[in-house]
């Protein structure tokens, strides 16, 4: 476990690279599993892992809220923007 830090996972989550975070987490989980089996895991490791999971859940929650708002504004822009441009074209054509 010594050679694997949680920091890269934290950085990947923080930069919203969830795919990469998932791959790093799988590696870490494999090593932690092995450490528990061979008795080298410590309470501190489990505690640090739990902290990472809780923190990541918060980051993902914030990301979802932001992404949801963005998707919503894209939807609204599409509804109003689309109708407006069609109308303008009709006016310009009619004027000739």
């Amino acid at each position: 476990m010594e050679q694997f830090s949680l920091e890269p996972i934290r950085q990947a989550v923080n930069s919203e690279e969830f795919d990469r975070a998932g791959r790093l987490w799988e590696q870490y989980a494999g090593q932690l599993h092995q450490a528990i089996l061979d008795g080298s895991a410590t309470g501190a490791m489990l505690s640090e892992t739990r902290q990472l999971v809780d923190w990541s859940a918060l980051v993902v929650k914030a990301f979802r809220a932001h992404a949801g708002a963005q998707l919503n504004s894209l939807h609204v822009a599409e509804v109003y923007g689309g109708a407006g441009s069609r109308e303008s074209r009709a006016i310009i054509r009619a004027s000739f």
Partner: protein, 178 residues
């Protein structure tokens, strides 16, 4: 006819103007109309007002038929000279040339403006399509990221709980065998 054209051009101007508001063609049409109504020549009859066509401050022309009749009676040669002909010269030549510069089916102002606007609309359409493609891509990326982030948290929660239980069980077992 002239006044209708003036009204139409005027209607395009200002904040509550028409679809051509802000377009150069409005000013160009206005100048061409002015060149007709402000035509002047040398001679006893030298402006349209001498023939009863008075240019008002709003750009429209008003017609006083008795003025024209009077001019015709007192000075018919000057009236004819002022009017001229469509091909030869005088007012009619100026008016004909002005209208041709507007209406010519190839080089006329209306035709060239239509061509320009069609081109602008096509470019605008291409820009809108390009932006739409980017918006669609962003939408898909955000949706994918949301799905991936959900899966990540679910996996982390599940595995962290499993490891905690496993670790606690092992601790308990270790204590039992001490």
């Amino acid at each position: 006819m002239y006044n209708a054209a003036v009204d139409e051009v005027t209607g395009q101007r200002g904040q509550s103007g028409g679809a051509l508001g802000g377009q150069a063609v409005v000013g160009q049409l206005s100048r061409i109309l002015s060149s007709i109504s402000t035509y002047s020549a040398s001679g006893q009859i030298n402006v349209l007002e001498d023939l009863g066509l008075k240019l008002e401050t709003n750009g429209r022309l008003t017609y006083a038929p008795f003025t024209l009749i009077g001019a015709e009676l007192t000075n018919p040669a000057s009236v004819t000279s002022f009017l001229g002909s469509a091909a030869g010269g005088g007012f009619l030549k100026v008016a004909t040339d002005a209208l041709t510069s507007v209406e010519d089916s190839v080089t006329g102002l209306l035709k060239t403006s239509e061509t320009d606007m069609t081109s602008q609309i096509a470019k605008l359409g291409a820009t809108i399509a390009d932006k739409q493609t980017k918006v669609d891509a962003l939408q898909i990326r955000l949706q994918n990221q949301m799905a991936v982030s959900d899966a990540l948290i679910a996996a982390m929660e599940q595995q962290a709980s499993y490891f905690s239980s496993m670790f606690a069980a092992q601790q308990t077992a270790d204590q039992m065998y001490k």
